[in-house]
Structure formats: structure tokens, C-alpha cells
Amino acid sequence: MSEKVKELKVSAIENGTVIDHIPATALFQVIKMLKLDVFDQMVLFGTNLESKKYGSKGIIKVSNKFFKPEELNKIALVAPHASIIEIRDFQVTRKTLVEIPDTIAGIVKCFNPNCITNIEGIPARFDVVDKEDIRLKCHYCEKITVKNNMVFK
């Protein structure tokens, strides 16, 4: 049995979810989006780690938590290449990639200041009209919010 031995910058978890290949700049945004800042179990994370593919990356390890795809897919807005690894008894049991969902609700603000969502404080909802370039069409004002003017709640 050959086992690749490598130094772990962030300790292993026994059970839970590892979110890998997060852009280093988006790590804290992902933590916020997944509400890990108020989560009550062990959360380990590292950022500005070396990545062969992306230069530098962030990683999050969340103990005793297995996410539903719809909970995780929203992070694709800031971490489009993130991989999701489920760990049970220190073993990888499942590995998937995030997918940009068809609709986004409650996490991005509509960039149009004259949109009803910004005036009456209604959660903004979007249809993702372009998954490559990430263009979000507001369900209410129908204006397009692009990556550069995305503001997260």
C-alpha cells in the first residue's frame, strides 16, 4: 500500500467537509456565506497556501457538517473552482466540485440603487444568465449585476 505522505498545513478532521481550492482572497467571504463565523463546531482554515493549480489558495475544514449542494453552490460566485471533500473517519468518502446555481437569493445585493430590493430592504433574487462570466439578472428590476459590481450581504 503506497500512501503519499505530505505535511498538512491545516490539520485533518475526523468527520466533516473540506472545502479546497478557494481563491485566497475569497476565503473570508466563503466563511461568511456559509455562516461558519457563527457555527458551533470546530472550523479550521488556512489561506495564502501554495497551490500548484492556482498559485495561492485557501482551505476550510468544517467538523461534523455535511452541506447540501444548494448550500454550497452559492460559494461558486466567489470560488468557482472550489472542491468539496466529504470526510468520514479520516477517509475521503466523496469529492465534488461546486456548480454555479441557476438562481441566487439573499446573498448578493442588486447593484441598481433604484431597485426596490435596495429601497425596501427585500432580499434580492437573481437568475444567473451567464455562468461563465457570472452575470446576474435581478428578479425585480431586471438589471444585470456583473462580477465587478457584486456586493455581498
Binding site: N112, N114, I116, T117, I122, Y140, C141, E142
Partner: protein
Amino acid sequence: MKNKSLVSINDYTKEEQLRVLEVAREFEANPVQNILTENVIASLFFEPSTRTRLSFESAINRLGGKIVGFSEASNTSVKKGESLRDTILTIANYSDLIVMRNPIEGSARFASEISPVPIINAGDGSNQHPTQTLLDLYSIMQTQNTLDNLHVAFVGDLKYGRTVHSLVIALCNYNTTFHLVSPVELKLPSSVKMHIKEKKLAYHQYTSMEEVIPQADILYMTRIQKERFSDPLEFERIKNSYNLHKDMLVQTKENFRILHPMPRVNEIHINVDPDPRAYYFQQALNGVYVRQALLAIMLGYR
């Protein structure tokens, strides 16, 4: 379509749009019908409007309905800081259908989601104004006897004109050839052009309208506003090249008609008005028939 709100022209399928036009034709033939005598319609205009508000109110009156509402928000509880949500939930108690114009974009969609009675969007900021699109489609249908395979020329401010955007998108269902005439700064945005490309329809762009007139079945004129230009000199340079005069109408197709959503300033000279090809005042009248049709359909009388 009964009790279903109309917020965006895309809320109606092509078949549903055609159904409205068909019912509108009935009201054009017979405009006074007492079918809404049991109904109260709320007409909520949070910003001033002449044609849209009065044509809705005319439509309601000609159908025997009662109107409650306001023509500007300054005398209402909105001024006291009431939310749109509370305003709509309250007024829905007093009426069977709400016609609303509001300068906040997306306000009509939001209202339609919380209101127990159907909403007709009479304009939400720069976003949607679907009853204008339906009356434009009706006017094209009435002058051409069809909506299919027409050459439609749009002239003026194609960038900011919301009526242009909605009508272009609606016409993409009818194999239209588009002739887009505008100053470079006011070209049709790519988000609208995308719909033309998706349907693989032909479109041509011009900066002057002379060569378009002989090819067009419909010439849809719009107003160019000075404030749209970053350079006021640029406006001065181009402003007269998008004005239509009688002597420009020498060579046209027989079925050629001129439309304008109005108000006009000087983009159509009044010497065009007596010409039988000038259709814009009839177009404004068509707004009454189309709105009568919508009210009758949404309240379940047609």
C-alpha cells in the same frame, strides 16, 4: 390570464399577447360597455403621467368601473414614509385590481408578489411598461394587418428608451427585420440585441434615417434627450438629423406608418401630422382599447 398580474411583457406568451390584441379589437369596435360596474380599480401613480394614467382611467370609465387612487404620491401616506408593501396591502382591500406607476425599478414585480389582487404595471422607472408594448403591437397589427415578417425601423434614443427595448424584444417573436437608427452614443444596448441574435433575426444599424424610410413598414420615432449626452456640443450637432419632416416622406411603401410613444418635442414636425401615414395620435387612442382589453381579461369578463 384571469387574476394574473402583468408586470413585464415577457409575463405573457405570444399567444396571450395576441389574445389581448384580439379583445382590444372588440373594444375598438364597441368601446362603451358596462362590464365593470361591480368593480373598483385602484389607479396608483407615484409619479406624474399624462397619457398612461388618463388612458387607463378613460378605459375604466368606458367600461363602467369605479376608480380610486392618486396621481402623485405627495398627498399620500407614502410621503409619511409608508412602505410600498403596506400601501399595496391596504389598497388591495379597497379594489379588485391595481394599476401602478412607480419610479422604483422592480416595484411592480414586488407588488405583484404580495398583492392579493392583480397588478398592472404602468411603468416602473426605467424597467418595464408592458401596456405600452401591447398598444404598440396593436398599432402595428392594425396598420399592417399582421405582425409577421415586417421591417420595423426604430429611430432616436435606442439606448435608454424603455419602450424601444420592450417592443424590440416582443417583436422578436414575429420574424421582424430591425432597422436601428441612432447616434453612436445611443445605440441599442447589447442586452436587448441579444434577443435579436438569439432568434437569428436580421438587424441593420444606421446613424441617419433617410435610407431607412423607403424600406420600412413601420417607423418608430423616439425623443432624444439632451441630458443623455456627456458632451452638449455633440447633442447640438446631431439633434436635427433625427427630426422627421414632411419632405422626407417622398418615397415610402404603401403600408408605411409612423409611430411614436409620445410625448414628442420636435422629432416629428407638425407638418407631418395631417399625413395619412402619421399614426401616433391613433396609437395613443389604441392605448385605451388595449387597456380595456386587459382589464376585461384580468377581471374575468373575457
